[in-house]
């Protein structure tokens, strides 16, 4: 009644690259916005996040290549496709943001560059109180315009 003992079926080697790659790419991309933007040196040039995202994309590509080469079944190929989307897309979008999107600003206007006297304004602050720039005459002012959350 012994069960026939055949050669053990080759255990399918787990393709860890297919989850490590997307994990690295997503971590690299998301942590830029949630954590690393707080340090100007790592915000201006994403020394940590870009390499991490790029590494994630490469690991994903290697894993997906293996999966397709090894003639993975339908499930394996689907997994590899999902991995490709999750691993390469965020890295690509992050690179596009860093290298293209964030510098899509109009040229500074000549009027702004030549501005000598600060024009007066009266605007509501976050409590609704009106603040006039001229109220600050006699003190120095750091006036910063920012994009906001629109």
């Amino acid at each position: 009644m012994a069960t026939p003992v055949g050669p053990p079926a080759p255990a399918p080697r787990r393709n860890h690259a297919l989850w490590i790659g997307p994990l690295l790419a997503l971590t690299g991309t998301i942590s830029y916005f949630t954590v690393f933007v707080r340090w100007p040196a790592l915000r201006d040039v994403p020394w940590v996040n870009l390499p991490l995202a790029a590494l994630g994309a490469i690991v994903t590509l290697v894993g997906a290549r293996q999966a397709f080469r090894r003639g993975a079944g339908r499930g394996g190929r689907a997994l590899a496709a999902v991995s490709l989307v999750l691993g390469v897309l965020p890295a690509g979008m992050f690179a596009a943001y860093v290298f293209v999107l964030s510098s899509l600003l109009p040229e500074p206007s000549a009027a702004t560059l030549a501005l000598a006297e600060a024009p007066e304004f009266a605007l509501p602050d976050h409590r609704g109180d009106i603040v006039r720039l001229s109220e600050l005459r006699g003190r120095k002012v750091v006036l910063t315009f920012y994009r906001g959350h629109w």
Partner: protein
């Protein structure tokens, strides 16, 4: 700038921030980041245009301000400005302190 606010004020300067966000959004930002300087709302872009820092179509819902920083002396003259060409790259607070210290 908030991180160096004490030093900025010790140089007899005040910080003002301006965006197109409504005051409620400014309040959320103030509370989220613990800001201790006024965050102003320029929904009509009047001040933004007066300084020439409108970014047409820069927001999801229309025009917004481009990032810009001006340092004014005690008489309201512009003594320094930074118009970054990349909105991720902003003036370091240390630079602001240097300029303020050099401004009488």
């Amino acid at each position: 700038l908030q991180s160096r606010l004490t030093e900025i004020r010790s140089l007899d300067a005040e910080v003002l921030a301006v965006s197109v966000d409504p005051p409620e959004s400014s309040r959320e930002i103030v509370e989220a980041h613990g800001l201790e300087f006024p965050v102003l709302s320029d929904q009509s872009l009047a001040a933004i245009d007066a300084f020439g820092v409108r970014h047409p179509g820069g927001g999801l819902e229309g025009d917004i301000a481009r990032p810009a920083l001006f340092i004014l002396d005690r008489d309201g003259r512009v003594v320094w400005r930074d118009l970054t060409d990349d909105w991720r790259v902003r003036v370091r607070p240390g630079r602001v302190l240097e300029v303020l210290a050099a401004t009488p």
